[in-house]
């Protein structure tokens, strides 16, 4: 298609914490600087900067991109910010890829940030502002009123019990114990999850990731630059993104067809015919336990209605046949929205390079996938990386 090869050559991130002392701009600087340092590049080597951040109402800065620009290294450079809600962080990588694949830039710095803690009394309240002002907000809803509608129908359609989806939390929170940024790493049992407080049935407290502050960055480079600065470039082999209708009540709440469409777009670009065999590790979006399973099915990495069984058979464990969320995911590392999804891209990058330390999956994986989900439960974003 006349597009240039693009590689991820560096990555960095801050700790994810419930409430950070640092400002959003300071968090952005720390992650972006770490990413540049990791590939021994200076800001002068960067041709353009891309910033992803989900909802302005969290940080409390309208036009958050402009505010973040200095921290993200955007001073007097081509700079652009995007947002697709929860799907933002993975789209950040796609947006950076566009700039390099097109030939516009040789080096693009990609930064994703979210500081949710300023929103009082709880960041959940900011979600009210994304719903329909006339038909939905007067009912006083929030995210925990609508996402469980999906979870309920998804579990019934596939015959999953609370215990089946709870295993996602057990696995991811355990994996997160080995992640230096993690705020929710824990050794739990399935019973701990199903016995935790019912937030919004069928969602228990431990089924849901935690709001957080944090930033993540990656550096993307053209083939020529990538080969010059590293002997381990990780190629962006495929990208996909798709948006379903905004009218969420008229969608199939049990199956995110838009995620499948995003995945098929990415697989086609990467020449992947049999995802279950060709994808070695996956970081699907896991803001809620069931979402990891539902996304795996929509990504065609598990047959519909089979993901829970594979999870129980430990196929998705770090030493399983297809490690899923070896980072610990949003459930374990934490969920500063855009930063959390770009963290998934960074994790696949580190895993493919064999640099994940205690989290390293065995077997020298060659191909990995990161995916996020968001907007009004309508956006799917997918990136496929290959070493």
């Amino acid at each position: 298609m006349g597009m240039r090869k693009v590689a991820v050559v560096g990555a960095g991130m801050t700790r994810f914490v419930r409430r950070a002392l640092e400002t959003p701009k300071e968090l952005a600087y720390e992650a972006a600087k770490m990413a540049l340092d990791s590939c021994e590049l200076k800001l002068k080597d960067v041709d353009g900067v891309v910033v992803g951040s989900a909802v302005d109402a969290f940080d409390g800065f309208h036009m958050k991109g402009e505010y973040l620009s200095d921290g993200a290294g955007g001073w007097r450079k081509p700079f652009i910010r995007h947002s697709v809600g929860g799907a933002t962080g993975v789209f950040s990588c796609i947006h950076g890829w566009m700039h390099v694949a097109s030939g516009l830039f040789d080096v693009c710095l990609v930064l994703a940030e979210e500081k949710m803690s300023p929103c009082q009394p709880h960041p959940q309240g900011a979600f009210l502002t994304v719903y329909d002002a006339i038909l939905e907000r007067p009912l006083g809803l929030n995210l925990t009123w609508i996402v469980p509608q999906e979870m309920n129908l998804y579990m019934i359609r596939n015959g999953y019990r609370s215990e089946d989806v709870a295993r996602v939390a057990v696995k991811n929170k355990r994996n997160a114990l080995d992640h230096p940024a993690a705020m929710m790493g824990e050794e739990l049992t399935v019973q701990d999850v199903v016995n935790s407080e019912v937030i919004s049935w069928p969602v228990h407290r431990l089924d849901i990731s935690g709001t957080a502050d944090g930033a993540t960055a990656v550096v993307l480079a053209s083939e020529e630059v990538a080969k010059r600065i590293t002997n381990k470039p990780v190629w962006v082999d495929g990208v996909g993104y798709n948006l379903d209708t905004w009218y969420w009540t008229s969608r199939d709440l049990a199956y995110p067809v838009y995620v499948e469409k995003a995945a098929r777009m990415a697989y086609e670009m990467a020449g992947i015919k049999e995802p279950q065999k060709e994808i070695h590790i996956a970081e699907p979006y896991d803001p809620f336990t069931f979402k990891e399973l539902q996304n795996l099915e929509a990504l065609l990495l598990a047959d519909q209605g089979k993901a829970a069984q594979l999870l129980a058979e430990r196929v998705f464990d770090r030493d399983g046949r297809m490690p899923v969320c070896p980072s610990g995911g949003l459930l374990g590392v934490g969920n500063p929205i855009a930063a959390a999804a770009l963290m998934k891209v960074a994790e696949v990058f580190w895993q493919l390079r064999g640099e994940a330390g205690k989290r390293q999956v065995p077997g020298n994986p060659k191909t990995g996938l990161a995916q996020a989900w968001g907007d009004m439960m309508q956006a799917g974003t997918v990136v496929i990386l290959k070493i």
Partner: protein, 167 residues
């Protein structure tokens, strides 16, 4: 990136702010908006005021849509055919929420529900609350009917329907 890497980012607690160990600034926004209801939802709300629920039919795909819209987002065609729906239907999905919109807890849970109203095309959902039912008895497939405010109290708002209750 191994576990041993010392990442930047300093965790603070709510108490650090309360005790003045970390300085913070507060601001309570007084944002005010007046949203025009638009063509489709304007009519929809007028009908609610009259105790009726109205949808819109797409001439091309024949979907009867709720909430009504002036164009079909699938066919990308204008819509003109208003269709009255029943004020009862089937629960397609629901949850039992103990959280208010601002994440504060409540003892008696809300039952937010996606309801397929009789007369709309299968798969079309309508978002509202279910009431007058023990949460333990809620189930997908339950038949429910709108509980309306008295005609004099209705203002042309989604809250003109108080909630839906089991038939």
């Amino acid at each position: 990136m191994d576990k041993s890497v010392q990442l930047k980012g300093t965790a603070i607690r709510e108490s650090d702010i309360k005790e003045g160990k970390v300085l913070s600034t507060q601001w309570v926004p007084k944002a005010q908006y007046a949203w025009d209801t638009g063509v489709a939802i304007g009519r929809f709300l007028e009908e609610l005021k009259g105790g009726k629920i109205i949808g819109m039919k797409c001439a091309r795909c024949r979907r009867i849509m709720i909430p009504p819209r002036m164009f079909c987002e699938l066919c990308y065609q204008p819509c003109r055919e208003w269709v009255y729906l029943q004020d009862w239907g089937t629960v397609r999905s629901f949850c039992v929420s103990h959280l208010r919109w601002d994440a504060s807890r409540m003892k008696d849970p809300f039952l937010p529900s996606v309801i397929e109203l009789e007369g709309s095309t299968k798969g079309m959902g309508f978002f509202h609350l279910t009431g007058e039912i023990d949460p333990k008895d809620m189930k997908i497939g339950l038949k429910v009917k709108a509980v309306w405010k008295d005609a004099r109290e209705r203002t042309g708002a989604i809250t003109d329907i108080r909630y839906f209750k089991p038939v």
